[in-house]
């Protein structure tokens, strides 16, 4: 029992050290709701303005966080069909020259290929191409039942000016874990 307690204390300290070393300002795993989205974005906004980050960067970070979190709250699948909660992980880290927003969520294997295709397509475009795609998509799209317009990833790529970094890890024959990293340059 004592040993187990000690193990947790060590883990907490290791986690703290890792977060400090990598300047991770936020880690979360759980249900992603509008309330969570509002809380995290306002926390991050406060910490950025405390760090005297430029307005432009603050707005971009805010923007990308909202889109990433609302993507999870609208599209995340769950491990089992009975489970309706939309969960995910969220991490915000600060590097020397950029902020990284990392999100992860479960996705059904049958949806992986089309998401991969969209990501590849977005990554193949330059700024002008993204703007054209955005304008085309915004005209054609309709707001889904979930309240999305299918524009989130294009918007993230446009606003960050960086390629979307992603990975799919197959968990079993039903679902995979989708990880997306968005990078916002600090100058």
């Amino acid at each position: 029992m004592e040993k187990e307690k000690q193990g947790f204390l060590d883990f907490a300290y290791q986690l703290y050290k890792t977060m400090k070393t990598n300047e991770i300002s936020l880690v979360y795993e759980g249900e992603v709701t509008q309330e969570i989205t509002k809380t995290f974005t306002s926390l991050t906004e406060k910490s950025l303005s405390k760090n005297a980050e430029s307005n432009t960067v603050q707005k971009k970070v805010f923007n990308v966080m909202v889109e990433c979190l609302q993507n999870i709250s609208k599209h995340a699948d769950s491990l089992t069909d009975e489970d309706e909660e939309r969960r995910g992980i969220v991490m915000v880290s600060k590097g020397d020259d950029s902020y990284n927003i990392i999100t992860g969520n479960i996705i059904k294997n049958e949806r992986v290929q089309s998401l991969k295709d969209s990501l590849e397509h977005i990554n193949s475009l330059d700024k002008a191409g993204l703007s054209t795609l955005f304008k085309q998509q915004i005209k054609e799209s309709t707001i889904s039942d979930k309240g999305g317009a299918g524009l989130g990833l294009i918007d993230i790529a446009k606003k960050t000016g960086s390629k979307l970094i992603y990975q799919f890890k197959e968990l079993n024959d039903q679902v995979s874990f989708f990880i997306l990293t968005s990078t916002i340059k600090r100058n």
């Binding site: 989205t37 707005k59 915004i138 799209s141 999305g148 317009a149």
Partner: protein, 126 residues
């Protein structure tokens, strides 16, 4: 027409739609989870307005931030005003953006590429 005057929150914008005083404004933040719920009555109001608009409508957009679902709704709003233009009345969009926010200026330019309404871009500093 009734006046719509909605006070903004941390995820919904200020909305003023007042035909009598000629005030049309959307400002602040727009990132509601359910855009249809928030904007439903606003779109209905604009539909009714479009049936009998003023000779000249000046619509101020002074948004600090909006999510992509709201960006679709903003296009829907602009398309309704485009119809007013097509019916021979004057509409002008005053698109305000903060000097540090090129993204907001670009968003306005993208809308003006899509709809046939004149846009005025107005820069502000805090």
């Amino acid at each position: 027409m009734e006046v719509i005057n909605i006070k903004g929150t941390d995820d919904t914008p200020n909305v003023i739609l007042d035909k009598a005083s000629g005030q049309f404004e959307l400002s602040g933040r727009s990132l509601p989870e359910d855009v249809n719920q928030f904007y439903g009555s606003i779109l209905d109001w604009i539909d009714a307005y479009a049936a009998d608009p003023l000779d000249r409508t000046e619509f101020n957009f002074k948004l600090e931030y909006f999510n992509t679902a709201s960006s679709k709704i903003i296009l829907d709003i602009l398309l309704k005003f485009e119809e007013i233009v097509e019916n021979g009345k004057e509409v002008i969009i005053k698109w305000h953006y903060h000097e540090d926010e090129e993204d907001m200026l670009e968003a306005g330019e993208e809308y003006s590429d899509i709809v046939e309404i004149p846009f005025d871009y107005i820069v502000y500093t805090d």
